[in-house]
């Protein structure tokens, strides 16, 4: 490659690398990505909601409710254990244990077997016996709901006194103070003759709580009604327990159809997004440099040494180097994050990297990224050659940026929503958006003929840009003082000898 082009590119790169904004941007994105999950984690509920049940009908119903939630809690633990065992291939810990079975909905019998087998502590002991040192430990979670007995003093309260006592419990909040509660249930003394069960809560109770509660109370009512009709307790229970056996088949974690599509699209979508981000950033830095060259009257000195084309290519190469180095740093940070987090992210990344296993996809990614970078950067170069100040440059740039970014936003949203409709197809063939559309579509699948066709269209577009914007660049370099009108710009696009 021409030595002057490399010299200009190196100077452009050094100038950008000397900017504080470059380093700030370079580090800000990984920092934001690192802090995001931390904040998200801190927002997650990691403590149980405290439930106080006042059973004035004798305590049998409260016990049934508590048992049911204990069952749900254990079912949840078995599910977590099952995913953990499957993710890390630890079935050999106890192949007969319910948590080593992945192909069914865990029934009450499975939960009973789990309890008989020693519960979660015994499961962890068995797993630890076969777990490799680098495999992360299984982490248990607090059950979603913790039940507390009601204060005997409020058991006899009625009317406003009862309401005040419940209000005091809810105000105290279940996690903050002793005697506090998140949910208060009251089963009346006449239950089940009067089947009304009162529920107090500071917030709309979640379906996770109401559905099992409804199940327990419904089953309890039906059991009583069936026995009143003359059925034996066992028969009534058998009728109540009759349920279809649901066989569940799911792909490995991260392998579901929609989930899989989304995960496969992570890298391509991220590339499209990073392409947009780095283009906008490196483009504006390059623009700043070009405006400085014009406003500092440097152009003539430069043009005495280098051809305008060399100056333009050097600037493009410099911008590309800035963009690629930003991407290298960001990808490096992502690799470090994956290495240290392992577990879930590593499992997510595996299918996410699947598109990269195809040579066609790898070539397409590199090609569309680099050629796309040149296609858009050249617009910044042309604007830089025409503008005497940053404010003048902004005047040209704003419509260009809006024109590029808005459709890309729609495009990325469509891909995330799993849509591959007309807009996505259309943008694939319009060169300004081709690189973004193709990169974004690599995850959900794009035909090879489309890749080749769009690649040819993009390359032809870049050639035309180099010809026409190169003329504009050359003609605009020494024309200072007046903002060119539309007609002047059109004139500058025409071939000229001088």
């Amino acid at each position: 490659m021409n030595n002057n082009i490399l010299l200009i590119a190196a100077r452009e790169f050094r100038q950008t690398a000397a900017m504080k904004s470059f380093w700030l941007t370079l580090l800000l994105l990984p920092l934001a990505l690192a802090l995001g999950p931390l904040f998200a984690g801190s927002l997650e509920e990691d403590e149980s909601e405290r439930v106080v049940v006042m059973d004035r009908s004798g305590g049998q119903t409260a016990q049934a409710i508590e048992d049911r939630f204990a069952l749900e809690g254990d079912r949840h633990v078995i599910g977590d254990l099952s995913r953990y065992v499957r993710r890390h291939n630890l079935e050999e810990a106890d192949p007969q244990a319910p948590w080593a079975q992945f192909d069914r909905w865990y029934t009450a019998a499975d939960v009973a077997a789990f309890r008989e087998g020693g519960g979660v502590d015994e499961a962890i002991r068995k797993i630890d016996a076969v777990r490799a040192a680098e495999t992360p430990e299984f982490e248990t979670h607090e059950p979603a709901y913790a039940f507390s007995p009601a204060d005997p003093q409020i058991m006899g309260l009625e009317g406003d006194a009862l309401q005040d006592a419940v209000d005091a419990m809810l105000k105290a909040d279940g996690n903050d103070q002793a005697g506090g509660a998140d949910i208060v249930l009251m089963i009346g003394a006449d239950y089940p003759r009067d089947p009304t069960v009162r529920l107090w809560s500071n917030e709309q109770p979640s379906a996770d709580f109401v559905t099992p509660l409804q199940d327990v109370l419904t089953a309890d009512l039906r059991q009583r009604l069936l026995t009143q009709q003359g059925l034996s307790g066992e028969t009534a229970l058998a009728i109540q327990s009759a349920a279809p056996a649901i066989s569940v088949t799911t792909p490995p974690p991260g392998g579901g159809a929609r989930e899989s599509m989304l995960i496969r699209s992570i890298v391509p979508l991220a590339l499209a997004y990073i392409l947009m981000m780095s283009l906008m950033l490196s483009g504006s830095w390059m623009l700043q440099g070009s405006v400085e060259e014009r406003s500092n009257k440097l152009i003539e000195s430069l043009l005495a040494c280098v051809r305008p084309e060399e100056l333009m290519y050097g600037k493009l190469l410099g911008a590309l180097a800035v963009g690629l180095s930003m991407i290298a740093v960001w990808l490096g940070c992502a690799a470090v994050a994956v290495f240290f987090t392992q577990g879930a992210i590593a499992d997510m990344i595996r299918p996410a990297l699947e598109p990269l296993t195809s040579p066609v996809a790898i070539i397409a990614m590199i090609y569309f990224f680099i050629v796309g970078y040149i296609a858009i950067s050249i617009l910044f170069v042309a604007v830089g050659a025409m503008a005497d100040s940053m404010s003048e440059a902004q005047g040209y740039l704003m419509p260009i940026l809006l024109g590029i970014i808005l459709p890309i936003t729609l495009l990325l949203n469509s891909i995330v929503a799993g849509k591959d409709g007309f807009l996505v197809q259309l943008l694939t063939w319009i060169p300004f958006w081709t690189p973004f559309a193709v990169l974004a579509r690599l995850g959900i699948g794009i035909e090879v003929w489309e890749l080749i066709g769009a690649g040819i269209v993009l390359a032809a577009f870049v050639v035309l840009e180099v010809i026409f914007l190169g003329r504009l660049f050359r003609a605009s370099l020494l024309a200072t003082g007046q903002k060119p009108g539309f007609r002047q710009m059109m004139d500058r696009l025409k071939p000229t000898g001088g």
């Binding site: 030595n3 002057n4 010299l7 100077r11 100038q15 000397a18 400085e292 060259e293 406003s295 500092n296 009257k297 440097l298 003539e300 000195s301 430069l302 043009l303 005495a304 040494c305 280098v306 051809r307 060399e310 020494l478 000898g497 001088g498």
Partner: protein, 305 residues
């Protein structure tokens, strides 16, 4: 072989004729002045020599070939509008331009430092140009144009904006370049510098050449004037075109301003006076200054003495 050869050069911008049928040449070691008022076509001509813009017609030969960046390594150029990267160190800027002119980075740095020392800027070599005074930055830019030891040095209005001390420094550098054999061409509308430096000069008016030659030839192109104190018969001496009485000094003596017929020298008139026994009490020749020549040929717009 001339370092620079320009033949029938024409440059037209739309309907504006910027350079009109211009021909001249500059030899090795010669200092060539390019004189003209504002808009005379000096900068346009220099840009065509550098291939920054292309001529409408005509022929330019720089160092034996048509203008091209391949010649950049042998050319030094100081534009009229000056500036450098403000966040670049002085020595880095010089090395950068040296490398664009195909210099080895080590050589560019070494010669760059020599130039900065000569310009008394060695201690500011690692200062950002943005932190320097305008005069300092202009000297750094001069160093950028000299770093490659050019065979052809082109300077566009090099003295504008320089204080007298730095004007002297620039004159020294022009003379130094000429002594080592470089052809130097500089445009100016300051006659003092042209008179002091130029071996030959060219006067441009609205793109066309009005004069090309040495300083003596330029002065000789205007009729000489003589102040003489004599009796009235001096007006009839051969070669005197006109005698204007300036002051009556009594006893028949008058102080005259004599204008001579073109081609007649003051010595011819003095000889005639002597052979014809015309008494003279004062005979003082006034040679035309470059300023006079410039005003006569180009007009007095934009000229500085």
């Amino acid at each position: 072989m001339p370092v620079l050869q320009v033949e029938n050069l024409v440059k037209r911008f739309d309907n504006f004729l910027a350079v009109d049928d211009l021909s001249f040449s500059v030899k090795e070691g010669e200092i060539f002045g390019f004189l003209g008022g504002n808009g005379a076509g000096k900068t346009t001509t220099l840009r065509m020599m550098l291939d920054i813009i292309r001529p409408t017609s005509g022929h330019i030969e720089v160092l034996g070939s048509t203008p091209d960046r391949r010649n950049a390594a042998a050319i030094g150029f100081l534009p009229e509008e000056r500036g450098l990267y403000s966040n670049m160190k002085a020595i880095d800027a010089i090395v950068y331009f040296g490398r664009l002119k195909e210099m080895d980075p080590g050589d560019a740095r070494q010669h760059g430092m020599e130039l900065l020392e000569r310009f008394e800027l060695a201690d500011r070599a690692k200062s950002n140009i943005g932190d320097m005074s305008k005069g300092m930055a202009q000297k750094v830019q001069l160093a950028c144009s000299l770093v490659n030891r050019p065979q052809l040095l082109m300077l566009d209005e090099p003295f504008s904006g320089l204080d007298p001390v730095n004007q002297g420094l620039l004159e020294d550098e022009i003379l130094r370049a000429s002594r080592r054999g470089a052809a130097v061409i500089f445009s100016t509308h300051v006659m003092q510098h042209a008179e002091r430096l130029c071996d030959r000069l060219l006067l441009l008016r609205r793109g066309s050449k009005r004069f090309e030659g040495t300083l003596d030839e330029a002065r000789a192109s205007l009729p000489a004037r003589i102040t003489a104190t004599a009796r009235p018969q001096i007006a009839a001496v051969r070669g005197v075109a006109r005698a204007d009485a300036l002051e009556d000094l009594g006893d028949g003596w008058t102080r005259y301003d004599l204008q001579l017929v073109p081609g007649v020298s003051a010595a011819d008139v003095l000889e005639t006076c002597t052979t014809q026994a015309i008494a003279l009490r004062q005979f003082e020749e006034h040679r035309a200054s470059l300023h006079d020549v410039f005003v006569q040929m180009v007009g007095d717009e934009g000229v500085e003495q």
